[in-house]
Every structure is written in structure tokens, then in C-alpha cells.
Amino acid sequence: MIIGERKKVSEIAEMLAGKKKILVSGCRTCVAICMAGGEKEVSELSSALMLISDRDGLGWKMEENVVERQCEKEWVREIDDKIRNADAIVSLACGLGAQTVADMYPEKEVYPGLNTTFLGVPEEQGVWSEKCLACGECIIHTTGGICPVSRCAKSMRNGPCGGSSNGKCEVDPDTDCAWVAIYDRLKLQGRLDMMTDVIEPKDWSKSHSGGRRKIVRKDLLIQPTDSSGKEVVE
């Protein structure tokens, strides 16, 4: 899932200087699960912003709302009236949700309430870790189901660098070395011979390094959507 981290309330309040009608809008999907932008976080942020407004006489009017998936236009359309009624929208969704609102309502000012941080998984209550870089070419079948692209600080492809020590990464001693984890996994599976396979250099053009990516599935297209100011799938 997409993992986000809440911005400081003071930082968000600073962005909102001069605004009056503020919509704080969260998302019930990834950011709700990582407890950064769901219903509870929307309530908390709205309440904290109103503390500032009441104390400093800013006269903010706060509206709260949480959509099912803020990255999908049909869900955002459900709060059309709330968006149109606001001077400023603080999105507690990830950057995708925030940009969906911004693209659909180009005349509206959208402010990010959180920092979209990485693609990761919940490890335990309150702990999330990065496990995918969305590199565009998954190879985890060659590495025991462990992604060295995201889990190794150097995205090493053919074994560890020289800094691996006692199972830990030289970049951060609190982080397991991805290649030790891969070795252990392949050993457990009786496939250690795979460690000696030479893996071709990665084609980074399929990752973000090749520029902004887009997928068009012709089998799914009904008709190109269009309306002024909005992105169109050609």
C-alpha cells in the first residue's frame, strides 16, 4: 500500500493563511490503513486547526470529509459540492488523491496534509516498511521473493556490497541487509545455486528514471474522457 506520514499541524496552518472555508478531506484506503489520512486523522487535524483558528481569531470554517478512494474520480465527484464550497482543500490522501482533486478542480487550491513516503507494508501495529519501488520490472522470483531494488539501499542486483555486516546494512545498522535476507531465503528453499546466476543490468527506463509512466489498456477503454482542464487518456 501507499504509506504516508502526517505533516506537522503548524506547517499546514501556515499554508492556509488567509483562507476561510477549509475542507479537510481524507481517504479510506491506503492512508487510512497506515493511520495517516483516514477518518480519525481528518478529525484530529480539523480539531487542531480549529484550536489555532479560535486562539488566533482566524475565523476558519472547517468541513471534514473522507472519500472511499480519493485517487478515483467517481468517488471525488461525490463530494463535488463540498469542494466547490471551499477556499482551500487540505488533502489527507496520498499525492495521488490530492492530485486527483487538484486536476478535477483546477481552479481550487489543494494543500497536502501528509507526505507520501513509500510503497510498503504494515509489519506490526505502528510499523511500516518499504518493500517496492514501483520499478516497472518485477524480478523477485530470482531473489527468493525479496525485492533488492527497494530493500537494498543501493538496489544491488548481484549480491551484497562490501558493507554488509552481521546481517545489517552499512547505510543503516538498524536495517537488515536485503542480500543477507535473500541468501537466507534461497537457502531455506534449497535454491542457493541461484545466488551464482549473473543477473543482467536492470532496465531503469521502465522505472521513473525513464520519465513519467502511463499505462493505457485498450481492452478496457470505453471512450476517452474529456472535460476542460482535465487530463485525458489519449
Binding site: S10, S43, E44, S47, A48, L51, D54, R55
Partner: protein, 138 residues
Amino acid sequence: MSSKLKILAYVCENHAVSAIRAACSSGESLPDSIQIVELPCTGRVETVHLLEAIRGGADGVVVIGCLEENCYHDAGPKLARGRVERIKEVLQDISIEPERVEMINVASVSGARIMLRLREFEKKLAEMPASPFKGAIK
């Protein structure tokens, strides 16, 4: 000064309420400033409840829960503690005294201790500058 204070106490109806009752039946009384909201478990207290109490004019908010290892619902006081800590950070960030929010854990037999902690909390609040939200209580 202290008689004008308002403290909202979110209190677990299990050990924490028993501790307060035990203290009261042995002759102690709750400070006048304290208004109690009983909950099935302090795990029910959300961060917004703490913020809204301050915004509503409470000088302080205290969450009184069972000892962490004694929770009937397993993790209630641990969750509550995390939320209290979170709101302390938020208050600090927006320049409101984080000491206005506290968590107290008690065993049902610790009536005297809970009263002592509440009086200490009341004293600390009385020494602070008036809350900017004073008088907001409806």
C-alpha cells in the same frame, strides 16, 4: 484560582472508577474542578476527544485508565497513552502547553494515589497562564 479550573477526566469504568470510588468512600473527595466522563475502556479515547476538550474550554484533560497489564480489553491504556503522547506533540507544535493533557494509570486499590495525582495535576494547571479557550465551554 483552582476553584475556577475545569478539568475533563476520561475515566475507565473498570479499575479506574473503582479507585476513585474507593478514595471517596474513605473520606476523600474529587476536586471540584474535575468533571468525569466514564468510558468502557480508555482505548475509546480518540485524539479528537482530547483536542475538543481543550477547545471547549477545559484547562486540562486527563485520561485515567487501568494499569497497562490489567486492561479488561487488552490494549486500552496502551492505545490511550499513545494518543495522549500524540496530542502532547500536536499541542507543542501549535504552541499550547502539552502539560494540559495527561494520562494516569491506576489499580482499583490505589484510591489515595489517584487523588494525589489529580491534585498535582490541578496544581500544575493552576500555575499555568489561563487557557486561551477559557470560557468556551457551553
